[in-house]
């Protein structure tokens, strides 16, 4: 299913929110709200056009501080979006 997904990080990372589209299993239009501008834009650009599963595999577990990070939050959000579709 094609969908737009928004995920609030709950203050666990510098970025407060991340949103993206998943179209035919491919991630597009990743946008972080807040966080280090250059790094989050870099993550968003690299995730563009990647398979959703690959985004989760690549970014899950990346640690910035306290065991979490903006890329890890993106992985969490993509995984949650995929789980919603499977449910």
């Amino acid at each position: 299913m094609d969908k737009h997904y928004s995920h609030k990080t709950g203050g666990r990372t510098c970025a407060s929110e991340v949103s993206f589209d998943i179209v035919d299993g491919i991630v597009h239009n990743v946008v972080f709200t807040g966080g280090c501008r250059g790094n989050t834009q870099g993550v968003a650009a690299l995730a563009e056009g990647m398979k959703a599963e690959d985004v989760v595999t690549r970014l899950k577990g990346i640690d910035c501080h306290g065991g979490n990070s903006c890329p890890n939050e993106l992985a969490t959000a993509v995984a949650a979006c995929l789980a919603e579709d499977c449910a």
Partner: protein, 324 residues
């Protein structure tokens, strides 16, 4: 209260020369519009379209490629971001799903077939969407726009208040006269010891982490934002100037508070800190460390703040707010 100095003659803060631009505040209408679109974005849908490709569409294309699996390469792109090829994405504009056209892909001419075209649709913001935000007293789009505008104005005022306060306080301190500051007692001594104690503690912590000695003067240098190579005498002079300014500010705040019949006590501040600790679910000691480090410091901070509040109360009504 032992201030360690006296205000001999005060320059009236109402007489400060404040440039017009410091009293001019701008809020961008585009920022309000963007925040409203952000809410509508929660309801964004993505659906196939029959019409020609537009910038921002999510498009799947393929072209023959003997080296690829199934003899054809296939990619899905968000048109206009130019992650595939700027020229290809430009040439795709206007084509419809099912069409095939010859165009360059990464410098090689290809027979490109458009497999699908999907568009992101952001619906117009409605009262229902606004109501779901559950903002008190905000139920309609108009009310939401008004609340965003009010919030942005408040934010702009808060930011400007700090700059304006610093600006006016500096003029008042420069143009007022004070009795010589006794560096061995009173407010000066209290503030001075806070910075020195902080530098010593931070140096010890940094040394332990780095595995080598970091001198407290290095911590002071960073705190005072002085370049590397600044001499100890220069650092001491900068620290002295900062502490002297805070002492004068306390003196001004204390004088105004007394004239207005306002007094701050340690017991009163202690009760406030306990309340804050409860509110933020933090240990009282942590709150005191951040605000103090002692109750005496908290009281001094209140007097500094009092003078700033008097300045803002006078100048804030003069703000010229423009929505651009």
């Amino acid at each position: 209260m032992n201030l360690g100095t006296q205000l001999l003659q005060e320059f009236d803060f109402r007489e400060a020369e404040v440039p017009e631009k410091l009293l001019s505040l701008q809020v961008k209408q585009s920022e309000i519009d963007r925040m409203m679109v952000d809410v509508a974005m929660q309801y964004l849908t993505i659906a196939p379209v029959q019409g020609g490709i537009c910038k921002g569409d999510i498009v799947r294309i393929s072209w023959p490629d003997p080296a690829a699996e199934n003899g054809k390469a296939e990619v899905q792109i968000s048109v206009g971001r130019n992650f595939l090829d700027a020229e290809t994405e430009q040439q795709l504009l206007g084509h419809k799903a099912g069409e095939t056209a010859e165009m360059p892909v990464k410098g090689v001419m290809r027979q490109v077939t458009v497999l699908s075209v999907k568009r992101r649709n952001i619906p117009p913001l409605t009262d229902d969407m606004v109501a779901k935000l559950e903002i008190p007293d905000v139920k309609t789009v108009e009310e939401y726009a008004a609340s965003l505008k009010a919030n942005l104005i408040e934010k702009a005022k808060d930011e400007r208040n700090r700059i304006l306060t610093d600006f006016v306080e500096k003029q008042v301190m420069d143009k007022s006269s004070f009795a010589p500051i006794n560096q061995e007692e009173g407010v000066y001594r209290l503030f001075f010891s806070v910075y020195v104690d902080y530098a010593k503690a931070a140096a010890a912590e940094a040394s332990a982490k780095a595995g080598g000695e970091i001198h407290p003067s290095e911590i002071l240098r960073r705190m005072l934002r002085k370049p590397e190579g600044t001499s100890k005498d220069e650092l001491h002079a900068a620290l002295h100037e900062m502490v002297e300014q805070r002492t004068k500010l306390c003196c001004l705040g204390y004088t105004h508070a007394q004239a207005d019949g306002v007094t701050y006590t340690e017991a009163q501040c202690d009760a406030e800190l306990h309340e804050m600790a409860k509110q933020y679910d933090m240990p009282y000691e942590d709150v005191l460390a951040q605000m103090g480090p002692t109750l005496e410091h908290v009281v001094l901070g209140k007097y500094e703040q009092y003078f700033g509040e008097k300045i803002i109360a006078y100048y804030a009504p003069k703000y010229d707010i423009q929505i651009l």
